[in-house]
């Protein structure tokens, strides 16, 4: 049997443009979801720096909170919050599609799993808020 050689230089490899995600709404929303992780990470780093200022004393902490009140930082955090909410909602509906939840032999319908996740998220947020407002309160 004769060997078949393929001349690789004759094969066409189409190049994907780096802007492929701008061509369709679904791709664009996908990229937005990926971008959400960047905003969340930046917020967490800023929060970590705030905790560091807390360790440095009242003056350092107050000065940092003052900086966070500037229009630029407030706008950043509002945008970050919108991205974080987008991450949360897409995460809940994705995990309900990806993770099959069974009760006995029957599968829980995905929209119900999403709703349950949303409910847990709301309850957790309220608990965190209450702990923050009322724990270790000075007498």
């Amino acid at each position: 049997m004769s060997t078949v050689t393929s001349d690789k230089s004759k094969l066409y490899y189409p190049k994907m443009p780096a802007t492929w995600w701008l061509t369709r709404r679904a791709y664009f929303l996908f990229m937005l979801r990926e971008l959400s992780s960047v905003f969340i990470a930046i917020f967490l780093v800023v929060f970590l720096i705030e905790i560091y200022q807390l360790s440095r004393g009242p003056a350092a902490y107050a000065a940092f909170v003052q900086r966070l009140a500037s229009p630029g930082w407030i706008i950043f955090h509002v945008v970050a919050l919108l991205f974080a909410l987008y991450h949360s909602f897409t995460w809940f509906s994705l995990t309900s599609k990806v993770q099959v939840v069974r009760v006995g032999r029957r599968q829980v319908p995905p929209p119900l799993v999403t709703a349950a996740n949303l409910a847990v998220w709301i309850v957790l947020s309220i608990v965190i808020l209450l702990v923050f407002l009322f724990a270790q309160r000075p007498a």
Partner: protein
């Protein structure tokens, strides 16, 4: 087809855990620390240095803060790594992976150190 062992599942696991933490916990903390506190929406005795230092000094709160801050960094690292590949930077796969996961590891160490200081 060749298969080889990779650490991919390990990083994916951290990505997944970070995604859960980010999804459930980050929005309320963003609202609190990024918007409500700087804009003075909450009582001063709650947001003032005294209460914050006591609250964040509590060991259980520190553990919670570690989980809140460190895990989503791995979520970012994994997502950002593949986003860069999707934007065409596949040729730099090794430096990108090192920068992304390395960044998350550095962030984790910084979190441990700063929480230790409070």
């Amino acid at each position: 087809m060749t298969t080889h062992k990779t650490s991919e599942p390990f990083w994916w696991g951290l990505f997944s855990a970070g995604g859960v933490v980010a999804a459930f916990l980050v929005p309320i903390h963003l609202l609190l620390h990024g918007i409500a506190i700087p804009l003075g929406w909450l009582p001063a005795d709650v947001t003032g240095y005294e209460h914050m230092r006591v609250l964040f000094g509590h060991p259980l709160i520190k553990i919670y803060l570690f989980v809140l801050i460190a895990l989503p960094l791995y979520h970012w690292a994994h997502r950002f790594r593949f986003t860069l590949y999707d934007l065409g930077l596949k040729g730099l796969r090794t430096p990108i992976a090192i920068l992304c996961y390395g960044g998350a590891v550095v962030g984790t160490l910084a979190t441990v150190w700063i929480l230790w200081l409070v």
